[in-house]
Symmetry: C2
Subunit: 527 residues, 2 copies
């Protein structure tokens, strides 16, 4: 059994605290010594990618202490328990099985009397079959016409991950003949969200996916009614236009309101559900099941690396350790995720949920308050756009914000122009290379307003092209990074009790059972 302990009880953590400030990145990254760091500090990832941490505030001694911490905290042992089916989600007394949707890392996991890997694969097969029949026109609308659009109705993990993945592969699929149907997403309870999406599509040729594990998510059920209303007004039979992704025990599971229902379960948290039926249905319909399978294969290959005990062969674990070092030793409060890829425009928003909802906790897995900071604030926008926006603060602001860059050698569309001797893709790559060095090394200037202190750490994940496999590997990397950080902070990364109070109070407002300040705000908002 792994030994679940608080971060500040580990000897290696105390060792790391003693290294604060020993690596001056501006100096370390200068000259040929800097070049040597870039060449040396790189960890192989799946799908021909690499995690380069040359510009992070580490050196061989710090990395050795990080390895000690990884060993002392039993990170691989804890991961092993997780993928072998232990009750890692301690608060909700649940297994944590999202890795099982894309591979089998350990022993067979049997829960509720069934083999869970077989269960997830079975759902994938059912979805693949369904998607193929939709694409072939065998499953069609009331008039026998093909569906051309798929609309996901879901919020949080049922929205952010699948939406980010869809946007990441939309242009790749178009370029590679894999684009089957356009996907749209309705998430917000704001009625203007559903109204706008419905106004932008041809409802008669649209297939809607209702995604709610419990079948009780208020926003999602409300938006379902919104959509059903619209279908009814268009003279259409809603039950011929809707499928459900839910748990087998939910009220949606066997309802005749849906053409079909595909299942996930309580062992897959919403924010980790992109590789389950939650992402599987919409992505298989949009791009075909083969593309979804390639996405899963990339994630599975990357997952395997997370079993390695050497931090140098386990990029997710190493990234996690660096992040904890930045947060708890160096005292940085946020992390910027900056993909130099327009296709990853919503990937930071997905990571924002995945990370902040998992590790934004103040108590450990035993319900005891911790005396150190946990999950950082995560934000980001694609480069080069961000350069013309918030990078000013990152370069010259009073706080240091560590950065996680992502870049690809090749574009997805392959359409480009040569201006001033270089292509757009070369300009894009040149900018991310330049930014890493600008942040790390800075540049002295006698005019303090034009002075760059440097010393701002970053890492970069470099890939050949954003393919389905690369996207799967990226997703796995960050999911596993978050998991390892949760292990280090000794928090339960798989519940989200912090979202409950707002729900309870919102119900009181709607029932007009309020007093004090809440009554006043309700009045001001005319509820």
């Amino acid at each position: 059994m792994a030994n679940w302990k608080n971060l500040d009880t580990y000897a290696a953590y105390k060792e790391l605290q003693g290294t604060k400030g020993t690596v001056k990145i501006a100096e370390a990254m200068a000259g040929e010594a800097g070049a040597a760091r870039v060449q040396k500090y790189s960890a192989k990832m799946a799908a021909d990618m690499a995690f380069n941490y040359g510009a992070k505030e580490v050196d061989d001694a710090i990395l050795a202490s990080m390895q000690k911490l990884a060993d002392e905290a039993g990170l691989t042992e804890k991961f092993e328990e997780l993928y072998n089916g232990a009750v890692i989600n301690s608060g909700e007394k649940r297994l944590v099985l999202h890795q099982l949707t894309r591979g089998q890392l350990g022993k067979d996991v049997v829960a509720d009397g069934i083999n869970k890997r077989e269960f997830y694969v079975n759902q994938q097969d059912r979805i693949a079959d369904f998607a193929k029949r939709v694409h072939a026109g065998e499953i069609a609308n009331g008039k026998g016409e093909k569906f051309t659009t798929v609309v996901q109705i879901g919020i949080g993990g049922s929205d952010l991950g699948p939406r980010a993945m869809y946007l990441a592969l939309e242009n790749w699929a178009k370029k590679n003949g894999a684009f089957k149907m356009e996907a749209k997403f309705i998430s917000n309870v704001d009625p203007d969200d559903a109204a706008a999406v419905l106004a932008s599509i041809d409802v008669a040729h649209s297939l809607f996916i209702l995604v709610s594990k419990s079948g009780t998510t208020l926003e999602t059920l409300t938006n379902e009614s919104f959509v059903k209303d619209a279908l009814k007004k268009a003279g259409l039979d809603a039950s011929k236009h809707m499928i459900a992704v839910t748990s087998e025990t939910s009220p949606l599971a066997k309802s005749s309101d849906y053409l079909a229902a595909f299942f996930m379960d309580d062992y897959i948290g919403g924010r980790f559900s992109s590789t389950s039926a939650v992402g599987g249905a919409v992505l298989s319909l949009a791009f075909g099941p083969d593309v979804f399978a390639r996405f899963l294969a990339g994630a599975a290959e990357e997952d395997k690396l997370s079993k390695n005990t050497s931090i140098f062969e386990n990029p997710a674990m190493l990234d996690a350790l660096i992040g904890v070092y930045e947060r708890n030793v160096l005292g940085y409060t946020a992390t910027a995720v900056l993909p130099y890829s327009q296709a990853l425009s919503r990937f930071p928003a997905h990571l924002q949920q995945a990370d902040m909802e998992s590790n934004g906790k103040s108590v450990n897995r035993f319900g005891e308050p911790v005396s150190y900071v946990t999950g950082p604030l995560i934000f980001g926008e694609p480069g080069t756009n961000g350069q013309h926006s918030f990078y000013q603060l990152l370069h010259q602001g009073t706080d240091i914000v560590p950065i996680q860059f992502i870049g690809f050698k090749e574009s997805q569309c392959g359409v480009d122009v040569d201006i001033q001797g270089s292509t757009s893709q070369q300009k894009l790559c040149a900018n991310v290379a330049a930014q890493i060095v600008a942040f790390a090394c800075g540049k002295k200037d006698e005019n303090a307003n034009k002075n760059f202190a440097g010393g701002r750490p970053s890492s970069i994940i470099i890939g050949k092209q954003l393919t389905p496999e690369a996207l799967g590997a990226l997703l796995s990397h960050f999911e596993n990074k978050i998991m390892f950080q949760g292990f280090l902070w000794n928090v339960n990364s798989f519940d989200q009790e912090g979202v409950q109070l707002g729900k309870v109070l919102a119900k009181k407002v709607l029932a007009h059972e309020t007093d004090g300040a809440l009554r006043c705000y309700s009045d001001l908002l005319n509820i």
Copy 2:
């Protein structure tokens, strides 16, 4: 002349430092005393809106000290100098005149021999005339057919603000018969951005707006070539499909490559340019010049409030003071902007630039390093989506993140459904009301994992509906808040020297003039 001094030299600032921790929000907001705070702590804004700060960590004593600080720092005096045409952008030796695009707050401002208000109004009139002729089909494509789509090519301030404003009013315009043309935006140098936008439109009926003040922005010129290539391949004459928004001295100003050119100048920073021709061209084409005029009117009305010396009648100044108090006295590092309005989905991204690029500085306006923290990290997503994402950390994380909520009583589209006894709009409003109180008051629970400590401050701007006037007022509020904060921190909020180094290094990479770490990263990215 105003007295430009560092924040830590003001007596009132020292007074404020002594108040740290004197207001316990969880207690202050409880019961009828909390209700009294919500009723009392509200400042009127333009367009029937109000800034409510009941749930901020202030009380009468702290507010009195804030008033002293505002007076001591001469905030209204400094604003007066700004709108009367002083060289407030000290680094670049420029006036700061974006307020003049929407009204005349003080004396005539004459620069470069011309009355600047007349100049901006003249550009608005030229744009209005041009837009009307496009809408009437008098200005049409080569075949004499109407343009149906307008595409803005720009980055940073030429993209984020106009895009956020377009999205904010798109559904309102559709509902109110003001929707003239769909707008799209190309910003990133990533070739997949332009390729995807071009693939999604009918280029033969598209009008492109090239936006670059200097006429030399690399991303924008590259994307212009990208678009010209596409037009050429479609057998179209690019000069019949393009207009420019630029400065009169730029190479684009009198080029025959464009159907027309509309002007801004060096006195309007990119991030403050939504009310200039930069926002004016695309918004007037999309929604008609009357809607753009209403947007300007809302901003002008709100600007007038920023002249008031009483902080209780100057919501932007009060918001600025509260933000500085949270940053420098209470020690919070970030601010979340959370609009309960899907239409404001990109408003936080715009504010992220406007705020972080303006006040993410480490030196004061005299080029001397400051010894206090300046601009915070700004991020946000619309509610209720955020509730199902990063709110976990905001409620139960180890850091406190102050929040800026925005909410409206009515939706824009007016389409709604009644589920479980309430409409979607009521649910949306109930949620924001509930969140304010949940963050402020928390809720004790014996299970520490379900315990909410509360004490997390927020403000809310409440409006009737997100109309053009309301949007203008919102924009003005935040622009002026940022300006007042810059005055308090004594930084120049109107330059952005921090973006230069990356540009210089990117050019070196493209010219293959690199060594050390930069050469290695260039190699890894195959440049």
